[in-house]
């Protein structure tokens, strides 16, 4: 064979050789054993999944790929059939998702709550406010610094809802700053700048334990501040390629009694109180 053919042959064989060198454990396992779980960063960051996923994998033999993105993106993945099961906390968007037929078997899993945090000095004097709306109005009126995630995550969606309920449009105002960052980072920014922000309890507690943030819980416990998690299986009728049995197994697992018990204890040792409250089977 001539020069060109010889070169092509050698290169092709090297290509095949190096592909063969890829360890067999990395070659894609059989489809049925892979499960793609799309969830949110705050769920991942709390560390809960680091406990639950290995348990689930051991019990069922599935290999779970946890992809943490914002709630918005997670649901988009579900819409495209690129994920098998979702664990999200953005109820309004979820209802639309279900309404369009992208998901089946939406089940309530757990909840935790959001907190309105701020500097100890509390310049806007929101401590003791009876509702989130009242607190937000005070912040807007006093022009105190407020940090928003601004990234269409579940937390951000919640926050936008609260501003709307309070009848305030904060975008563009000087005291309203959008970081576009994750929850942990935004907490850090608020700590540095002595600003107010909305955060979920889990991330706050975890971060505060590592380094004292200097932010106080100023408003909490209001029903509107509840952060509710659902597990949704992606509709196999729309996307035949999804791992429907795997999704169902995960969904069942999340609401099973032992799992729920584990959820109720998660974090108590470290933080004094649990980070999540199991809700399976309850009505909303």
């Amino acid at each position: 064979m001539n020069h060109l053919q010889r070169v092509l042959f050698v290169t092709l064989s090297c290509f095949i050789l190096s592909a063969a060198l890829v360890p067999s454990s990395w070659s894609a396992p059989v489809q049925q054993k892979n499960l793609i779980l799309a969830t949110t960063t705050s769920t991942q960051d709390s560390g809960l999944l680091d406990v639950l996923i290995p348990m689930f994998e051991k019990q069922t033999g599935y290999f779970v790929k946890t992809i943490s993105v914002g709630s918005g993106q997670a649901m988009k993945m579900g819409e495209k059939g690129e994920a098998d099961v979702l664990l999200v906390h953005s109820p309004e968007a979820e209802k639309a998702f279900m309404g369009q037929g992208f998901g089946v078997n939406r089940k309530l899993v757990m909840h935790n709550d959001f907190l309105l945090l701020g500097p100890a000095s509390d310049p806007a004097k929101i401590h003791g406010a009876k509702s989130a709306a009242e607190a937000l109005k005070k912040i807007a009126q006093s022009g105190a610094l407020f940090l928003s995630r601004g990234d269409n995550s579940g937390t951000h969606a919640k926050e936008k809802g609260l501003w709307k309920a309070a009848g305030i449009a904060p975008e563009g105002q000087k005291w309203f700053q959008e970081t576009g960052l994750g929850m942990g980072e935004t907490l850090n920014v608020a700590a540095e700048k002595h600003g107010y922000l909305l955060s979920d309890r889990g991330t706050y507690l975890a971060l505060n334990k590592k380094r004292h943030l200097g932010l106080e819980i100023l408003v909490a416990g209001e029903p509107k501040l509840l952060n509710i998690y659902h597990v949704i299986e992606v509709n196999p009728a729309k996307w035949p390629k999804v791992n429907a049995p795997g999704a169902k197994a995960f969904s069942d697992f999340m609401v099973a009694a032992p799992t729920q018990a584990l959820i109720s204890h998660f974090g108590t040792k470290e933080f004094g109180s649990p980070l999540f409250f199991p809700d399976a089977g309850k009505t909303e």
Partner: protein, 232 residues
């Protein structure tokens, strides 16, 4: 300020104690980027030499394309590779998305033009008559190519190092096609982004230090290579 100091202290503690998760992430980075570099070495030097040593119509356009490829933003590569690998994409049946193999593929796409471009430049910079001299010594075509590659071995090595440096420090493609799955596709760069987002600066700094170490080693070798002269 104390944020950084605190982070540095904790980072050294993590490294000194050989924290298994941190080490695991570092090893995975090396393996994934190493394999991608190996692939780019074979393909890049192979095709680069072929392009440099042969004359064909459209050669200039091809070389420009390769050079453009050298500057491909990794995140763009990540986007296109993930589109290919999506379940509903053309290669979805291969089930490669969110696996280390996907990262290797994306990083190979990033590194190969780098190695190829530098190979082409290096081979074309060999003295014009060297080829004649080698043929005059009675070399076969294969011997000729092999001897030319040996002569250019230093800049070729620099190209491979540049390719490796480029992929071990990229994050855009790794996140998109890898998914940052714990213990599976979490590499130094993606882990650093995640830990920073969580506010875990100590871990983020520890990971960054390791990454910096790799970059320093690469550059050290590159600098050493650059300082050597050519024979007459």
């Amino acid at each position: 300020m104390d944020l950084i100091l605190e982070g540095l202290v904790k980072a050294f503690q993590l490294l000194a104690s050989l924290d298994p998760e941190v080490l695991g992430i570092a090893m995975l980075s090396l393996k994934v980027s190493g394999l991608a570099t190996l692939f780019s070495l074979v393909f890049g030097i192979g095709f680069g030499t072929l392009i440099a040593l042969t004359r064909f119509p459209g050669k200039k356009i091809l070389v420009s394309l390769v050079n453009t490829g050298m500057g491909l933003p990794p995140v763009v590569v990540g986007l296109f590779v993930s589109i290919l690998l999506w379940r509903n994409g053309p290669l979805g049946f291969m089930e490669l998305l969110y696996t280390p193999s996907a990262i290797i593929i994306a990083q190979s796409v990033i590194a190969t033009p780098i190695v190829m471009g530098i190979t082409i430049a290096a081979m074309q910079q060999l003295p014009a008559n060297l080829r004649l001299q080698i043929l005059a010594l009675g070399a076969t075509r294969t011997q000729l190519v092999w001897m030319l590659i040996k002569e250019a071995r230093l800049p070729l090595m620099a190209g491979v190092m540049a390719g490796f440096g480029g992929v071990i420090s990229e994050v855009g493609a790794s996140i998109m096609v890898g998914g940052n799955v714990k213990g599976y596709t979490r590499v130094l760069t993606t882990a650093t982004v995640m830990e920073t987002g969580r506010g875990n600066f100590d871990v983020a700094i520890a990971l960054s230090l390791i990454l910096l170490l790799f970059c320093f080693l690469i550059n050290y070798v590159l600098t050493y290579i650059q300082q050597r002269e050519r024979p007459r």
